[in-house]
């Protein structure tokens, strides 16, 4: 493991791929690796791309990479697709639209299934961001599954969040889920070659204006990803947002909050795993379930009883 970490820090792409697999598989050995890597992180800028399925996220990432490379920056891409909740299998197809940079040594694209984390941006994604960061990528772009919790989760890990929408057609923008309006630092109306674009842009702007004055007013940018139109302006907006975060000290604040969250998550994770390990080893858990079913025990007292049995030092 030591060796793998050394190789990663020296820029070995095979080591990068292997380490991402390690966190994806929740391999026990990652406990040796992640603490080692952490002090090499904190340099990469993280961009989250979210939005409904098929809105053009992958195509936009592909085009954004052009701007990124023109500015002589390197980028890791994490493209998340849903896993089947029944078999756990997945078809990860985001690469199809990311072929422009398939051979570019400054770009590394990794597809991930959501696996157990239905909808949520998993722990593995967060750890993969850290691995890219330690590897030395200037940017990490995360394309999330555009449904449910992950749309909101992305804000926790991204410095700039881009929400991709499409012309609403007959529908009004009002039908967009409320949460989405809150998380976007930049809104993109992609497929601007379709009718209804102007109206969608105008409605989004009206909604954003209602949010009142802030130091950053999220811009609404039409793009045609397949032709690369509007992508330069999108990249400029990302850079402007980054500049604002940096100059206003908000980036520090955001990252402090992230550090706080990571520490809390890790704490909960450790305590939870510890408790489950003890309980599995020592307590006839299923017996308790049967008692609760028979109403001779209730889950409230049951939980206390289990903790007592593993000598968990509960306060009185």
């Amino acid at each position: 493991m030591r060796q793998l970490v050394q190789e990663l820090l020296q820029g070995n792409r095979r080591a990068l791929a292997r380490l991402i697999s390690l966190v994806e598989n929740d391999d026990k050995r990652k406990a040796e690796v992640l603490p080692e890597l952490y002090r090499h992180t904190g340099k990469a800028y993280v961009i989250g791309i979210t939005g409904s399925p098929g809105s053009g996220k992958s195509s936009l990432v592909d085009r954004l990479l052009e701007s990124v490379r023109r500015d002589e920056l390197t980028a890791g891409v994490i493209a998340v697709d849903p896993s089947s909740p029944f078999t756990g299998g997945a078809i990860l197809g985001d690469r199809i639209r990311m072929q422009e940079h398939a051979l570019d040594p400054g770009v590394f694209i990794r597809s991930m299934g959501t696996r157990g984390n239905l909808g949520g941006l998993s722990r593995a994604t967060r750890e993969a961001i850290q691995i890219f960061d330690a590897f030395g990528m200037d940017l990490v772009m995360v394309e999330t599954v555009g449904v449910g919790q992950s749309e909101v989760d992305i804000v926790k890990y991204a410095d700039t969040t881009v929400v991709v929408l499409t012309p609403a057609g007959g529908d009004s923008v009002q039908t967009i889920k409320a949460g989405i309006m809150e998380i976007g630092d930049i809104f993109v109306v992609n497929k601007a070659d379709y009718p209804g674009t102007e109206r969608t842009v105008a409605e989004l702007n009206a909604m954003l204006d209602m949010k009142g004055a802030e130091d950053w007013r999220a811009p609404v940018l039409p793009t045609v990803a397949v032709r690369g139109e509007g992508v330069d302006r999108l990249w400029e907006a990302v850079l402007r947002h980054r500049e604002l975060l940096e100059s206003s000290g908000r980036l520090q604040a955001v990252r402090r909050e992230r550090a706080r969250q990571e520490l809390a998550d890790q704490l909960e994770h450790l305590v939870k795993s510890w408790i489950w390990e003890k309980i599995r080893a020592r307590v006839p858990y299923e017996e308790m379930v049967e008692k609760i079913m028979a109403r001779s025990m209730d889950p409230y007292s049951g939980a206390y009883r289990l903790l007592e049995e593993i000598d968990f030092p509960l306060p009185q």
């Binding site: 792409r13 095979r14 791929a17 292997r18 991402i20 697999s21 994806e24 598989n25 929740d26 391999d27 896993s83 089947s84 078999t87 756990g88 299998g89 997945a90 078809i91 990860l92 197809g93 690469r95 199809i96 072929q99 398939a102 051979l103 590394f108 694209i109 990794r110 597809s111 299934g113 696996r115 157990g116 998993s122 593995a124």
Partner: protein, 134 residues
């Protein structure tokens, strides 16, 4: 708890534009619980190998209907070796005459070959086998 999942690259190197077969196989592998990285049409061997490395796959599956298998398959194997990834098994699906298939296997370019009409069960079992042997 997450667990190790078999990851398979399904790629279509070369110029032919038919990916129906590749998609059917991709779906069967997904339904068997695997993660299938699908890269689309017209891939060069360089693109295939780079994707295999970045995605850290257990098996590379190549769908070739263009007749160019005798150049494409050896090239993919060669590039894998050049990248210290020669151990990744390569499975080929397509219209491959018997004597070509024998040669590709004997020379170690392909680990398994399936021609049209092969059962999906057999392909899934073979991928699982190859992934285990890596």
């Amino acid at each position: 708890m997450r667990e190790k999942r078999i990851r398979v690259l399904i790629a279509k190197p070369g110029l032919d534009g038919h990916d129906r077969g590749a998609k059917v196989v991709a779906r069967a592998l997904r339904d068997a619980g695997m993660e299938v990285i699908y890269t689309g049409l017209h891939q060069t061997p360089e693109q295939v190998v780079e994707a295999a490395l970045q995605e850290d796959v257990d098996v590379v599956g190549l769908s070739i209907l263009s007749g160019a298998h005798m150049t494409l398959v050896p090239r993919v194997r060669e590039l894998l070796r050049e990248n210290q990834a020669g151990e990744i098994p390569v499975l080929v699906g397509g219209i491959i005459p018997e004597e070509d298939a024998r040669e590709l296997k004997e020379k170690g370019y392909a680990d398994a070959i399936f021609t049209p009409g092969s059962s999906l069960e057999a392909i899934v079992a073979c991928v699982r086998d190859l992934a285990g042997s890596k």
